[in-house]
Amino acid sequence: MQATREREPGEWVEAGPVRFVDGLSASGRLVRTIAARRELVVAGVRRDLAARFSGTLLGRLWPLLTPLFLFGVYYFLFTRIFGFRLEGLPEERRAALGVWMFIGTLVWTGFAEGVTRASTVLVENGTLIKKLAFPAELLPLQTVLASTVTQLLAFGVFAVVAFGASLWPFAGAALAWVPAIVVLQVLFAYGLALCASAATVFLRDAAAALGLLFTVWMFATPVFWMPVREVLPTIEPWLPWIERNPTHSLCYAWRAVLMSSEPALAFPRSIDAELAAFAPWSLGAFVVGATFFACVKRRFADEV
């Protein structure tokens, strides 16, 4: 059974590669394709999530259990066992470093896992593309969305536990930023995922190289450390560079929302400033990804 790949009845299908100028209008077309095929996207995300825990006894509980456990570990490690304390932090903020790392880990995993898994998604679903004429651009989106959903579930667990048990002050009105952050994060990850998945079709080495790149990138991003002079005295000369990293802004935006920008010394910039820094990266990645993908996707069926 075959479906025709996004073409209108009676429309000429021309030969030749897609020219770069045609590719530039790709972002708009991509948004329309996604809107038209949203049922397909939702079904794909659902299947992706279900597949991860299929065959397990606890099934759908795992996306909730994992962050719960992780949070417990970070909380106890950094408030009870490790002596790391930020100077002058009041007693009820002593979980700061644990919460900081917990959120950083979840944001990084949500972002990086989506992109790295997406890098092989076209190759793995070769039959879908070859035989079903499945709209290939939806596959990396499904992967990115699936890991974003996992991340949001984890944040939901965090909100219930941390705010509910008063381990951390309730975020309040700042939560209104969440939709904006989610949209920008998805656009950013999707743009990179489009590039990575398309590149892997032509050169399988791309996926392996991407794994390395992301490891380096993770350490360059303040996931497990705090880029603050008071905590890491040697960081000072690097700060201007570190702050230009888009994932730096992404992690900070999430933390600023969920941690209410406390402790103040760790949050030199406001949420809107972080998002203003991240938004151009996010839109840029999406446009570049959509353009690149549109330019090469006609060859997928011959290469996967």
Partner: protein
Amino acid sequence: MGAAAIEIERLGKAYRRYASGVDRGLELASFGSVRRHREFWALRGVTATLARGEAFGLVGGNGAGKSTLLKLLAGTTFPSEGRFRVAGRLGALLELGAGFHLDLSGRENLQLAGALLGLSRAELRAKEGEILDFAEIGEFVDAPVRTYSTGMAVRLSFALATAIDPDVLIIDEVLAVGDLYFQKKCIDRVLDFKRRGKTILLCSHSLYDVRNLCERALWLEHGVVRGLGDSVSVTNDYATFQREHSDASLTSSAPSTPPAGLPRVLAARVVRRTDGAEVHEIEAGESIEVRVWWENSDPERHALQLGLGFLRQDRTLVAAAATHLDGVTVDARSGAAVLEFDALPLLAGQFTVLVVLFDGDGVHRHHEFTLQEPLTVRARTKELGLVRLPHRWRFAPLEAPPAR
């Protein structure tokens, strides 16, 4: 009506071949400015127009480019040259149900395919019953497609492709699979499509199906068009070509020459009676004669009978004539025998012409002589079988069932 259902203009598809991964990497790294691939044209310069409501056949050998053409039209791969367009909704059945996602159940596959085709969930639910009825896969509907038999997968994909009621239906060799009961069901559905004015593109190795179902046909060979026209003449041409190429070794084998002194055939040829010209290809119903030159150095010792037969490819004797059966005696030392056929009733096909010299009882064979060139018979009609039997129809009112 009037408008074309499928228009194809100078369509071509080249696949890239790289000698090694290094070549591929180099070409990618240079963004295509360094060319390190060889092109292989699976299809080139195909131009054709399918009218709305037409059934169109596609024939050709393996690797002729048929599947590439169908894949292009179905949108699973893109052209390297030329262009095409398809008017209306297209349903394609390629590669026998291989389009399913094997890990998903039949029902999930239906949903996926439905979503791909842009059917809403409500529309799909409305059609699901009909699809499952037609496919007859029973409780397997919730089992992964991996566990299906080939027949079940084909049935499901056929049911789905036709249930969406496409305006243009592309079928690649599916009619040949499945049991006879299901084949009939499929053909009935295809015929129903045809009746409702839908366009059908049928690719088949069965020239019978192509002749029978299609008005016109396209013959591809090595990616280029060898013939395009009414299905009877295109399949005739294709059949001729196929036989010439598949049988080259068989017909060129030299006739066994008997030892000196025994009766032998010197030569034989088929001649058209209207103009006396030697022919290798005739129209069904033409009058021909077969001329046989023979010698028998010692007629006293070796009595002789002369036989002639038309054989099919598989050596089945289709028709024959022999002197001892017809009560004719052959007693000269040498001569030319002429066997005349008025309105030869052989139908389309290729026939080996075999001349045999028997002994007097018509049992022992002195010499078997096969004509170098087989005789190709071309038919302008859709008559079936190997020979045309003289026949007529009569109709009478039904009175009583025949008594036992």
